[in-house]
Symmetry: C2
Subunit: 332 residues, 2 copies
Amino acid sequence: MKRATIEDVAALAGVSRQTVSRAINDKGEISPATKEKVMAAVRQLGYRPNRQAQSMVTQRTHTVGLVIPDISNLFFPEVARGVQDTAQQHNYNVLLCNTDDDPNEEIRVLNSLQAQGVDGIIILGNAAEQTAMQTFADSYAPIVMVNRFIDHPNINVINVDNEHGAFLAVAHLIQQGHRKIGMLANKNFSRSQVRRVRGYEKALTENGIPYDEALIVGASPTLEGGYNALQQLLGEHPEITAVFTYNDLMGIGAIRAAHDLAKQVPHDLAVVGFDNIGLSSIFIPSLSSVHVDKYEIGQRAMNRILDMLDSPEQSFAPIELPVTLVTRESST
Amino acid sequence: MKRATIEDVAALAGVSRQTVSRAINDKGEISPATKEKVMAAVRQLGYRPNRQAQSMVTQRTHTVGLVIPDISNLFFPEVARGVQDTAQQHNYNVLLCNTDDDPNEEIRVLNSLQAQGVDGIIILGNAAEQTAMQTFADSYAPIVMVNRFIDHPNINVINVDNEHGAFLAVAHLIQQGHRKIGMLANKNFSRSQVRRVRGYEKALTENGIPYDEALIVGASPTLEGGYNALQQLLGEHPEITAVFTYNDLMGIGAIRAAHDLAKQVPHDLAVVGFDNIGLSSIFIPSLSSVHVDKYEIGQRAMNRILDMLDSPEQSFAPIELPVTLVTRESST
DNA sequence: TTGTACGCGTTATCAA
DNA sequence: TTGATAACGCGTACAA
C-alpha cells in the first residue's frame, strides 16, 4: 500500500491540492466547512506530508545536528537529552555525531551535516581549529557552541562559569584546612581548561597560598587520565592532601588510584571534581563536585538555535550558566 | 553565496545535467574525458548534491532511526556508538530518539520517524505493545529489534544470550560456596527479564539448590531500584549471602545499599550483575558482571538494516550474541 | 474562498 | 556516449 499524497487527499475531498495545503498548515483563508471536509479525508487516508518534498520548497529540514566528542562520555548523554527533548517539543529531529575530539573529524562531520541540510548545528567539545571553524561558519548558520569562544555573527555561545566553579571548589578545600592542593588538569587545550586553572589559582592566591605550577599535572580528561595523573602527582609531591580535578571522570580515577595506593579518601586525600555527573553521587566514596546543569545546556542550546532561525538578523547575547558546589564524602 | 546546483556544474562543464549526474554517481557509460571535465567543475564550485532532492526521486534518505529508552542510561551510549560508527562508514546518518520506556511514546516516535522518511529503524528497550508493533511493521520496513521477540517479516531480531549469562553468573556464585542466593529482578516485563530469571533458576536447580520465588524481588532496573530492592530483600531474608541482579545498575545500587547497611561486599554479601557497563570495572568494589558487547549490538543492528535494505525479499536468521562472565571484587 | 501553474534539485527513461 | 523530458510531492504567487 503506497503512502497517500496530497493529491490523493484532494481527490477524496473533492478539492484542489492548494486547498488541502491550506487546511493543513492553517494558512490563508479557508471556510470551516471545506477545512473539516479536508481533514476528514486526511484522517481517512492517514495522510502525512512528505518531509523531503516540504524541505525542497521551504528550505527547512526540521533537523538539527548535535556534534559531541563521545556520547559514551558520561557528561554528554544528559546534554543530548536536553537537546532532544526540546527539539521534540518543537517538532525537530536531532542528528547525533561523535568526533572523538579530533579536529579533522569535526570538520568532516560539520560538512556532512551541512550537506545533509540540517537547519542548525550545536557543537560541544574541545576540538579547536579556530580558523577552520571560522571558514565553516562563513557559509553556514546558525551554530551554537558550548564552552568555546569564537566571535562570528553566525555563531552563538553558551558558557559555563568555569572560573567561578573552580574557585568555589578550591576555596572549599582550603576551608577544610588543606594548604597543599594539587590539580589534575586537562592536557588538551580548551577554554574551560584555562578558566578552571585560573579559578584554582585565584582561590589559592586570595587565601595567601602560593600558586605553584608544579602541583598541576595535565592528563587526558578521562578515568585513566585521572588515575595516572594522581599517581604521578603523589609520586612527585607526597605532601599533597587534596586535589581539584578538571572533571569528575578524572576525580573518580583519582579516587580509584588513591584506593589502590592504600590511601583513604577523604582522610588521606580530599578530592573535588567538576561537572557533577550522575555517577559522582553514587560512587563510594561519593565525589564532591561543581554542579553544572547539563540538561539545561542542551535545552538552552536548542532554544537558541530556534531563536536564531526565527530571527536571522538579530544578534543574541552569549549565555552564561551559573554553577554551584556540591560537597560530598570525598572532601568532608 | 548560494549553494551550487547540478545545473551550475553542467553549465560550467558545458554538458547536460544528466551527464553530471552520471559522472558523480559512477553510473551508466561515460567517457573518461567528459567525466574528468565534470569533476573539475564540481571541485571548482564545491558542489554537493542536495540530499532532499535526491531523496525525492530515490526514495532513500540515508538516515536511520535509533529508538532507545534513555541515552542517559549507561547501557545505551555504547550501543549508540556502534550504530553511529557503522552508519557513518556507510554514509548514513542516525536520528536518535528516547522513549523513557513508555509504549505510547514509542509508537509516537516510530510514526514520527516514518513520516520523517528514515530508511530503517533500530529499536531497543522493554516497551511492549506487541499488537501496536505488529501494526506498525505492517506498513514499515526494515526494522531491527534487540532482545524482543516479534515474528514479522519486516522485523529482524538480535538477541543476547540472556539465559546462559544468568546461568553463568549464578553458577559462579554457587561455586564460591553460596547457597542462599537472591535475585534483584526487573519488575517490568521484558523478554530479557524472563530469560535471566530462567537462567537463575536453572543454575540453582542443576546444583541441587531449591528454587524459591520468595528470594526474587522485582524493582525498576535502575540504581535506585537496586538500592531499594536489596534493602527489602535483606529485610525479609537476612540469611542471603549473595545476589544476582538483572543489570549492573541494580548491582551497583545494591552495593551502595549494602555499604549503607554496614555490610562488606563481598565478605558479607557477594554481588554479580549483568551487562558489564564501563562503570562496573571502576566502582569500589568493582562489580562482577556478565559481559555483553554493547558496541557490537549496535554494529550488528546497523549492518542488518543495511542488509535488509539491499535485499528486501530475503529473510535473515536472528542474530544470537554470546556472553561471558567477568569476575571482579564484588564476588571473590 | 478556491484553483492553476510553476519551481525546488535530483534521478530515470528513452531517444538521439 | 550523451541529452531532452518527465517525474518525485509539496508550497506559493497569481488568477479566477
